[in-house]
Each structure stands twice: as structure tokens, then as C-alpha cells.
């Protein structure tokens, strides 16, 4: 495993971890932009723009882009979050140069009006699709409530009306400000030749000009408000809780990750034994989401409407227990074992490795090998986790609930 890095004069950062024993290679463009970087007038533009990058360049039409990717056999896609837009592809090593060249070209898209107008339909269908997924919808609404007034509460997808009102000019303007080389990281993992990919990027991207880009940072502890929505078409009760977490830059993030595993892993966690094992809730989970300058823990529960009150009481008792006596050594050891093996297994695939590599660089500008992360996780102590509980008070949370309502 060999790590390489380079920064172009225009600020574009290149990183790579070469693994000659891998059978594939992965490439990713990590753009430091997402819904938190949007003003209300352009809500949803980051995600819409992600779709538009596939619509081609001055030289390539949308259909030609799709064919060009499929000619390489790539498994490729992109995703947009509150703070990152990531384009990636996993390919056989012999196709890496071709797929890297294609991504470089697409990073300077044509953004044609006719493509923009047609793609609006697809975006609105995606918004409608997520409305039919209450587990997603409740999280999105809870995030908005938790981060009320903070840009991290901005919706990634936006609303149908907002997307209707968005113009291609607004998108071009946003693109010009956010897709600057100094706001991007290009990463590779797996079987590839570092010098070759570097010279490709030099040739393709050295002419891009840097821009002054910024982001409103600032930690936010959460609004701690409670809200519910009666929706008679639902069958189950969907409950999301969010409470204060740590930023991605905080060295205690591993302790936070382990805390979420102890409390809300799929199996063997406190939620599991109190709620799922006893069939009070069908789903109960907690995850830690580290973000740029802030962070959250989010819990999700799905249960029958009749069990909702019991779920709330039980979760209250779980949080009281944490505040009173913290976590135990046995719990921490189990959580470490699960986390470590998940980390190692995920990173065996170049595509899995790419994600960790890219995000470490986006947030920390540091290289962490898998072995470094393993060491950091092993070093977490019960005291570290219990200090976090004292500081972050998981019992103080924002709640959004959706269900059929009392008449059901």
C-alpha cells in the first residue's frame, strides 16, 4: 500500500493509495459543496447539478456520456449530501485511464437549457419517490427541524415548487462558484499507476481557474424541538431523534462512532435488546453523522402506532441509563470488534477504500491508512465514551414523528 499526493497550482488536490494486489481500481471526484452551501432561492441546486454533469459537455451529448461510461464497464454513479457532491467509478485497471479522462471532461459541463428542462422532470420524480419512503422522509424532516436556522438543515432534494422555479442561469452561477479546482479533491484507490493518472489530471485540469470559495461553518447543538405529522395513509409510526454530535475534524469521532454502535447497532445494542428483541419496535437504530464543523447522532424507530408510547418511554430509559452509569467495558469491546471488522471488510474493495480516503482528505487533509484507523479505534477507552455522554447529553434531542394518527 503506497500513498501519493500532489497539489496543482490552481489548488486541485490529488491523492491516491496504490494497492497492486487489487483486481480493480476506483476513482472519485469529491466536490466540497452541498445543500448547506445553497441560499433558499437555489434550494436543491447542488443535487440537480450532480444530475446535470451527466448531461454532457460542449463535445459530448448526454447519450454519448452514458455510452462512454458503459464502454468501460464501469460501475459508476454520484451522490449529493448536505456538504459534498461525489462522483465515482470502479473499473478494471485497464479502463481506469479512460474513465478518469471522462470524469475530467464532465467536470466542465455544458449545462444546456434543453437538458436542464427535461431533467427537471426526473428530479421531481426523485422527490416524489422519497415521499413514498417514510423512513427517509422522517429523517429529512427531523434534520430540518434539528438544524433550524443552520444551513445543515437545508434539504438536499429541495421541493417541487423550488425546483420548478430554479433557472439554468442560477445553476450556472452556482457551478461557477463551487466547482473550482481549489474546492475539489480527486482520489484513486486500488490497482493503478499514480504517475499516469497525475499526468492526465495535469493535462486536463491545470487550466481551470481557482475561485474564492467559502462555507458558513459553526457548531450547532440543535433546536431540541418536537414535531409530529399525522398522515392517515401510513401504517407504521416512524420516529426520528437527533442530538448533538461531533465534527468530522474532532479526534474523538471514533469514540462517538463506538457510542452509536453500543446504543443503536442492528443487533446486540441497547436499542436492540430493549426494543427489537422484545418486539416493541421492528427497527431501532442509532448512527453518528460527522459533518464539517458540526455533527449529529440520529436514531430511527419504526413500530406499530400502539407501541409508540412504549418506544418513547424505553428510549428515555436508555438515555437515562447512559447518563447515570455510562457504558461498560464489555459493551465497548464488542462494539470495537464489530467496527474493526466492518472497517477492514469495507476497505478490501477499492471502491470502499476510495470513500474513506476521499473523506479523510476532504475533512482533515490527512492520510489515514486502514491500520491507522484500526489503531485509533482500539485506543478508545470507556472513559472517552463516558466523557462524550456527559458532554453531549443524548437525552436532550430533537424529535420528528410521522404516523397514521390517533384515529387509526
Amino acid at each position: 500500500m503506497q500513498f501519493c499526493q500532489k497539489i496543482l497550482q490552481n489548488g486541485l488536490q490529488l491523492i491516491g493509495e496504490v494497492n497492486p494486489s487489487a483486481k480493480s481500481a476506483a476513482v472519485g471526484f469529491f466536490v466540497r459543496t452541498g445543500s448547506r452551501d445553497e441560499t433558499p432561492e437555489v434550494s436543491g441546486v447542488s443535487h440537480f447539478l450532480e444530475h446535470m454533469l451527466f448531461k454532457g459537455t460542449e463535445r459530448l451529448s448526454a447519450l454519448e456520456v452514458n455510452a462512454a461510461f458503459d464502454n468501460t464497464g464501469a460501475q459508476f454513479n454520484a451522490f449529493t449530501s448536505e456538504e459534498n457532491t461525489v462522483y465515482y467509478a470502479a473499473v478494471l485497471p485497464e479502463y481506469l485511464a479512460e474513465v478518469t479522462r471522462l470524469w475530467i471532461e464532465l467536470m466542465r459541463p455544458a449545462l444546456r437549457d434543453e437538458d436542464f428542462d427535461l431533467e427537471k422532470n426526473v428530479i421531481k420524480e426523485e422527490i416524489a419517490m422519497y415521499k413514498d419512503q417514510p423512513s427517509f422522509d422522517v429523517m429529512e424532516r427531523c434534520r430540518g427541524l434539528h438544524f433550524a436556522g443552520h444551513p445543515c438543515g437545508n434539504s438536499v432534494l429541495g421541493t417541487e415548487a423550488g425546483i420548478d422555479a430554479l433557472s439554468s442561469g442560477q445553476m450556472r452561477d452556482y457551478f461557477g462558484r463551487r466547482y473550482a479546482p481549489n474546492n475539489m479533491v480527486v482520489a484513486w484507490a486500488g490497482h493503478f499507476d499514480w504517475d499516469q493518472v497525475c499526468s492526465q489530471v495535469l493535462e486536463g485540469c491545470a487550466g481551470w481557474s481557482s475561485q474564492l470559495t467559502s462555507r458558513t461553518l459553526g457548531h450547532f447543538a440543535g433546536s431540541h424541538r418536537q414535531q409530529r405529522l399525522d398522515r392517515p395513509t401510513l401504517t407504521c409510526e416512524h420516529i426520528c431523534l437527533m442530538h448533538e454530535g461531533l465534527p468530522a475534524q474532532d479526534p474523538r469521532r471514533f469514540a462517538a462512532m463506538l457510542l452509536a454502535t453500543i446504543v443503536g447497532d442492528d443487533v446486540g445494542s441497547r436499542y436492540y435488546w430493549e426494543l427489537v428483541d422484545r418486539a416493541v419496535a421492528e427497527t431501532a437504530s442509532m448512527q453518528f453523522g460527522a459533518m464539517d464543523g458540526t455533527g449529529v447522532f440520529y436514531s430511527y424507530f419504526q413500530c406499530s402506532p400502539a407501541s409508540a408510547a412504549q418506544v418513547r418511554r424505553t428510549v428515555g430509559a436508555v438515555f437515562d441509563g447512559l447518563a447515570r452509569s455510562g457504558v461498560t467495558n464489555e459493551e465497548l469491546t464488542k462494539a470495537k470488534n464489530k467496527t474493526l471488522s466492518a472497517l477492514v471488510i469495507k476497505n478490501e474493495l477499492p471502491m470502499g477504500r476510495l470513500v474513506d480516503l476521499g473523506f479523510n482528505w476532504i475533512y482533515l487533509r490527512q492520510y489515514h491508512s486502514v491500520a491507522d484507523d484500526v489503531t485509533a479505534i482500539k485506543a478508545v477507552t470507556v472513559e472517552d465514551v463516558n466523557d462524550l455522554i456527559r458532554q453531549l447529553s443524548p437525552g436532550v434531542f430533537t424529535e420528528f414523528a410521522m404516523g397514521p394518527g390517533l384515529t387509526a
Binding site: E125, T235, A279, E282, S341, L349
Partner: protein
């Protein structure tokens, strides 16, 4: 490279292995002939209950002790139910394989199956069936399989509430003892392991266990041609299925190439015609779905009510249009796509353990990656077009969930 290990225990249980040098992990699956279609009438959902119940205590360990031991090894366990099999498996760091197999020996042969734990596992299964109302995409695909395959081959793997409510712990436990008899199981392992050691351990754990196994499945008639389930969701969820070549058929690889042409990548016909040219959907696609007895292409699209009819019409037109043949460019893209996904998938121990087990259960042998690559490579425009002319896609089974029904 590409070695297959194979051994049969004294009782007839088949052990398969695929060593992978580049990984530190190992994954294993027990394929037990206890899938949804093997159960008698009145037991729809039995396999789903059992997949939880068997983890609620086994051998000398109660539910909590067993879970703590599994977590202590850091293993990621999973269970899945198909028409034919209930699969229990795990992925973990290679060093813990021996201990994990000892625990799974108890889970498969000596699950405690306590009645009070049955009630909880059954309640979770009932809640899961109810929660499908809030997940229309998943529900429509379950409904579709039920209609398409001759009963009981397409029976719901989640369950039916009426059956779940009347099942008794005793009757289900009898079935577990019969279906889990190790002589009828297939064990597959992939990643880092010592095959001799694995076989010796499995011989010790399972070598004397035998039993009758499940009764043969008698397939009845197919279900309805079209079903609509009304709901007030944002989208109409459309599923459609049509018959195609089975894994054992001579023209299987021609069928796989044809499905790639239809929906293999972003340049494939469905994505191009439905999403790129018309903007009708966000999610649209079709994939191969196989049972031992029958095989199909399973398509899905989600779209807002006003576009539902046009969406289904365009999709069906694309299926029908295939009989007019494919182009050399489409063939080339399908080949590189199929070969790439095969190699990318081969880097993951979990997916290799799954693939070799499934191959064996379908074919009574395991295809090597080289064999699959060669067979894909051997297809031609003529062979695929010939297959499509002999087997045009003209008969469809359709299911929809949403605000309005469509004509088909």
C-alpha cells in the same frame, strides 16, 4: 487463481470453497432447504420467523450469550430467505473462523427454539408484513413474484399475517428440525481459510447429522395477469415480469446479454428511452431473477400518477422491440459490463461465498469465473438476436400500487 475447493461430508453435506489471496476476511453461508416455497400451506412467513428465532439461543447459550459471542468475534451476520433456501451466514476476520463455525454449528443443529422467543420472532415478522404498506416499492415486487411464478414458488418471503398469527411454535420447530438436517445443506466459504481445517471441523460438527429434508415442491397454477393495489402515495409503483432462460438452458448467456442491452447500464434501452429521452421516471430498470424451476426478467419503475400509463407502455414497447435484434455496439457494451461486474464482485469474500453456494444449488456444480467469462465472450449479435426471435417478450405479469390503475 480461480481454484474451487470441494468436499462432501460423510452425511452428504456439500462443502465449497473459493480461496482469495488478497483479503484478510472470510465469508461463509449455510444454504438450508427451508425457503419460502418449501413450507406447507398455512406457513407463509415461516422462514422469516425462523431466520430470527434460531439466533435467539442455541446449544448451551441463551439469546443474549449467543449474541454476545457472535459480536465478540466481530462478525457481521446475515440471514436471507429465497424461494428455495434460508441462508444463514457471516463475514468476519479470517482468524475467528473456527470459533464462528462452532457457534453456527449450534445455531443450525441445536437452536433452542423456545416458545416465548417464538412469540417475539413472530411478532417482528407480523410487524414487517405491516410495514410493507409504508414501502410500496418493496411490496409491489413481492406481489409481482407471487403472481408470476406458479404457486408456491413465488410465495412472499416476508409472510402473510393470517398464517403468521395461526402458526404454532411447535409446528414451526418440527419444520426447522426437518429442513435444517445438515445432510441437505450446502456450505460455502470464500476468502482466507484453510480448507482441510474447515472440512475437519465441519465433519466433527455436522458429519453425523442427517434427516429427510423437505418434501418436493408441487407447483400449481400461475396467478393473475394484472393486480392493482390502491394507495394514496406520491408515485405509482409499477412492477412487471416476463419469462426467460434458466441458468441450465443452453441460451442462458444470450438471455443475460439481452437483459444487459435492455437495462445493463445508463446507455441501455430502458434508461435511455424512459428516463433520458422522456423524463418519465427517476428509478427504472430490469434485472434477471432466477429460481431453479423458472426464470424471469423483473422490471420496476416508479412515477407520478399522470405518467404511469405512458411509462408502462414505453417499457413494454422496449421489451417487445428486442426481438428486432441488437447492435454490435450494444453487444460490446453488454460484454464489458458483465465481465467487469463479475471481476469487481470477485474482490468481495461475501459476494463470492454467496455466488458459489447459489451456483451449486441451481446447477449442482460451480461455474468458474473463467467459464462464465468465456461463455459471455462467445455470444454474438446473431446468437442473441436468434434467441430473442425464438423467445420474444410478449407476455407480461404486471402489478401496480398507487393512486390509479393502468391498462395492460
Amino acid at each position: 487463481m480461480d481454484r474451487l475447493d470441494q468436499h462432501t461430508l460423510k452425511n452428504g453435506m456439500v462443502i465449497l470453497g473459493e480461496p482469495m489471496e488478497a483479503v484478510q476476511s472470510v465469508a461463509f453461508d449455510f444454504l438450508l432447504p427451508a425457503g419460502a416455497s418449501r413450507w406447507p400451506e398455512g406457513f407463509c412467513g415461516g422462514a422469516n420467523v425462523v431466520s430470527d428465532w434460531v439466533f435467539r439461543g442455541a446449544g448451551a447459550r441463551d439469546s443474549r450469550q449467543l449474541s454476545d459471542c457472535l459480536d465478540g468475534l466481530g462478525l457481521q451476520r446475515f440471514s436471507s430467505t429465497s424461494s428455495s433456501h434460508l441462508t444463514l451466514g457471516a463475514t468476519l476476520e479470517a482468524g475467528n473462523l473456527g470459533e464462528a463455525l462452532d457457534l453456527f454449528g449450534d445455531i443450525v443443529l441445536r437452536p433452542r427454539l423456545e416458545p416465548e422467543q417464538f412469540d417475539l420472532a413472530r411478532q417482528l415478522a407480523i410487524d414487517e408484513v405491516r410495514s410493507l404498506d409504508d414501502e410500496p416499492h418493496q411490496k409491489v415486487m413481492l406481489k409481482l413474484k407471487e403472481q408470476f411464478y406458479p404457486s408456491p414458488l413465488g410465495r412472499s418471503t416476508v409472510g402473510e399475517i393470517a398464517d403468521l398469527e395461526t402458526m404454532t411454535a411447535e409446528a414451526v420447530a418440527d419444520r426447522v428440525r426437518r429442513y435444517f438436517a445438515a445432510s441437505n445443506a450446502v456450505f460455502s466459504v470464500a476468502g482466507r481459510y484453510d480448507f482441510d481445517q474447515v472440512c475437519q471441523q465441519l465433519e466433527r460438527l455436522f458429519g453425523t447429522a442427517g434427516g429427510p429434508g423437505p418434501e418436493p415442491v408441487k407447483a400449481g397454477p400461475q396467478g393473475r395477469h394484472y393486480t392493482h393495489i390502491p394507495n394514496d402515495g406520491a408515485q405509482v409503483h409499477i412492477g412487471l415480469m416476463t419469462a426467460t432462460a434458466r441458468l441450465t438452458d443452453e441460451d442462458y448467456y444470450d438471455a443475460r446479454v439481452a437483459i444487459s442491452v435492455l437495462s445493463g447500464g445508463m446507455s441501455a434501452r430502458l434508461f435511455t428511452e424512459v428516463r433520458e429521452k422522456r423524463g418519465l421516471c427517476y428509478a427504472v430498470g430490469a434485472r434477471y431473477h432466477a429460481l431453479k424451476e423458472a426464470a424471469s426478467i423483473m422490471g420496476y419503475a416508479g412515477t407520478t400518477p399522470d405518467k404511469a400509463q405512458e411509462t408502462l407502455d414505453v417499457i413494454m414497447e422496449q421489451f417487445r422491440h428486442l426481438q428486432e435484434g441488437i447492435t454490435p455496439e450494444e453487444l460490446a457494451r453488454a460484454k464489458v459490463g458483465l465481465k467487469s461486474s463479475l471481476i469487481l464482485q470477485s474482490e468481495s469474500s461475501g459476494s463470492r461465498a454467496g455466488s458459489i453456494g447459489t451456483d451449486y444449488s441451481m446447477l449442482d456444480r460451480v461455474r468458474s469465473l473463467d467459464e462464465i467469462k468465456q461463455r459471455v465472450e462467445a455470444t454474438t449479435v446473431e446468437s442473441v438476436t436468434g434467441f430473442l426471435r425464438r423467445n420474444p417478450f410478449t407476455e407480461f405479469t404486471v402489478a401496480t400500487i398507487g393512486q390509479k390503475a393502468i391498462e395492460c
